[in-house]
């Protein structure tokens, strides 16, 4: 009974241990589709599409009425064919399927013998002169070309005139490749996952004897049984008719470089890169510059704000008379304080910081000074202030007098002390000041 492993291409799952009937039933109810892949259970050969096996799509043969069991045994792909004595061995090993229908009870999938279903070419192969292959393994080839010819005949589709579902689906170049003999450099063998291709590669890996390339070797009877436990294709060769044949051993370590284990991915990189899994999205690493732009704008604003508020507050004062006091006196410009008091409001500051306005003591406070100066202006009509501060008086007291005069709009005149600029200690000529700020 043939057991199959099925690969569901829609959900990427492998379902193992299905019988032929189960496969047919799944096809019938839509669980399996033509695009799904199938291969003999436990086999390591490549997958093949269900559509390449038209036998799966045929209805099950009717169960014989004498069969006691409810469900008949799994039918072979070619139930109607009677295997000839020289034909390749069927899956059930003996006789026709019809005669064996019902003879075997249903076998659980774990106990079933690993067998490989008769390839779909079986029917066509029987129409041709039968070939004898003793084992489902690379036959014992003594001569590559003769063995190729035998294998070609066995597979039956290496004849270009014959039609085969698989070869019909490929283009002419690939078709010629499958039909090409080893050593044909024009048609390099294309990697393919069909078991036909595996057979072809196994053929290439075998030893080649050029001297016997014309000899036709009887390949014996095909034995499609596989060791379920080992799950490997038996590569043991049985010498047929020639003791000089070297057994083909699946030992890559001892093989010649050109006899290394076939890897389809070595020949077809595009096929090797093919995968049904979803590729991860490419992530592009980028540097986020938003934070740096924000900080740069902050720096710009800072410099804009701080670059326009640097001003120094100043009070404009009259320039003192550069001439010495004595020189002024000799020119007839000397005046007494009484004379000056008629034109100016006299403000005197001693070294201790005491104020006198018109020779009357005043507290050194801004408001008091303002009131006294305003009263003096209103009572006498004088509009100018003459500051006569001692040389030892502090600068801040002089600035206070300046500020009080600017508060009510008096003009400011500064009398140079006697100790400043040399000369006699005489009342200096007041320097004409600019009009102060109006109060």
């Amino acid at each position: 009974m043939s057991v199959w492993d099925v690969f569901h291409s829609d959900r990427l799952e492998v379902e193992r241990g299905l019988t032929t009937a189960q496969v047919r039933a799944a096809l019938g109810n839509g669980d399996l589709r033509d695009d799904d892949l199938v291969r003999p259970a436990g086999a390591e050969i490549g997958w093949a599409r269900l559509s390449d096996f038209p036998e799966f799509f045929e209805p099950e043969p009717p169960v014989a009425p004498t069969t006691p069991v409810a469900t008949g045994p799994a039918q072979d792909l070619e139930p109607q064919a009677s295997p000839s004595p020289a034909s390749p061995r069927s899956i059930d090993d003996e006789g026709s399927f019809e005669t064996q229908a019902g003879a075997f009870p249903p076998v659980p999938s774990d106990d079933v013998a690993e067998t490989i279903a008769e390839p779909p070419l079986e029917a066509q192969a029987r129409a041709t002169p039968p070939l004898e292959i003793s084992d489902f393994s690379p036959p014992s080839f003594d001569d590559v070309e003769s063995d190729v010819e035998a294998l070609t005949q066995f597979n039956a589709n290496f004849d270009e005139t014959r039609s085969h579902p698989f070869l019909d689906s490929v283009d002419d170049e690939d078709r010629a490749t499958y039909l090409a003999a080893p050593g044909d450099e024009e048609h390099e063998h294309v990697a393919n996952d069909t078991y036909l291709d595996a057979l072809g590669e196994a053929r290439d890996a075998s030893s080649v004897d050029d001297e016997e390339e014309d000899e036709i070797v009887d390949l014996g009877e095909l034995d499609l049984s596989l060791d379920h436990e080992r799950r490997d294709i038996s590569l043991e060769l049985e010498p047929v008719g020639d003791e000089d044949v070297e057994p083909w051993v699946d030992d890559a370590a001892d093989a010649e470089p050109w006899e290394e284990e076939y890897d389809p991915q070595d020949e077809d990189e595009e096929a090797a890169e093919f995968t049904l899994a979803r590729s991860s999205a490419e992530t592009v690493e980028e540097l986020d510059l938003a934070a740096m732009v924000d900080v740069a704008f902050q720096l710009v604003l800072f410099f804009l704000v701080t670059a326009t508020t640097v001003l120094y507050k100043t009070l404009e004062v009259p320039k003192p008379n550069p001439e010495a006091a004595a020189a002024s006196a000799t020119q007839g410009q000397g005046k007494t304080l009484d004379d000056l008091q008629q034109d100016f409001i006299l403000v005197d500051i001693d070294p201790q910081g005491a104020f006198k306005i018109d020779r009357e003591p005043v507290a050194a406070q801004m408001n008091v000074l303002i009131d006294r100066l305003r009263t003096a202006r209103q009572s006498t009509g004088r509009s100018a202030m003459l500051l006569t501060a001692d040389a030892a008086a502090m600068h801040k007291h002089a600035v206070l007098a300046y500020d009080a005069a600017n508060e009510i709009g008096l003009r400011i005149a500064i009398a140079r002390p006697a100790s400043v600029g040399g000369g006699a200690a005489a009342p200096p000529a007041p320097a004409v000041s600019k009009k102060g700020n109006s109060g």
């Binding site: 096929a271 120094y312 507050k313 100043t314 550069p322 030892a392 206070l400 140079r416």
Partner: protein
């Protein structure tokens, strides 16, 4: 068909520089603000209600710093704040050059405790240069 998948992942490991850039900018901003906040030692000019603002680039500033010892002469410095002592010749030269460059204002940043006579003496020396206007530096009353 299900083929053997060739898994090849290039591990792109790199250090994200964004946080380090942010920290560097923060440090630079902090340094800029801290330098502006402290400022330098300026002259303690007397307060006044009235006054006009003069830009630093529009006038020649002369600072008079009070003497460290009582009775000593004040320190005359060109510019604002403390610095090397300047002679009258250097001051006249600076003022003359300022007038030539269009800076006709001369601001005397005199400390409040400097004697009034020293301020007038300096002012008399500067007044010899024509075309200038004399100002005394003040500050806002507290």
């Amino acid at each position: 068909m299900l083929l053997r998948r060739q898994v090849s992942q290039e591990r792109d490991e790199h250090i994200d520089m964004t946080p380090m850039v942010d920290v560097v900018f923060q440090l630079m901003t902090f340094m800029l603000f801290s330098v502006q906040m402290t400022g330098g030692e300026e002259v303690k000019v007397p307060p006044a209600r009235h006054g006009v603002g003069v830009e630093e680039t529009a006038a020649t500033f002369i600072s008079l710093i009070k003497p460290t010892t009582p009775g000593g002469e004040p320190k005359v410095v060109l510019g604002i704040g403390d610095g090397p002592r300047a002679t009258l010749e250097e001051i006249r030269k600076a003022v003359t050059e300022g007038v030539r460059e269009g800076r006709r204002k001369v601001v005397l940043q005199a400390d409040g405790d400097v004697p009034h006579g020293e301020v007038l003496k300096l002012a008399a020396a500067i007044t010899e240069i024509e075309g200038i206007t004399l100002h005394v530096g003040v500050q806002e009353p507290q």
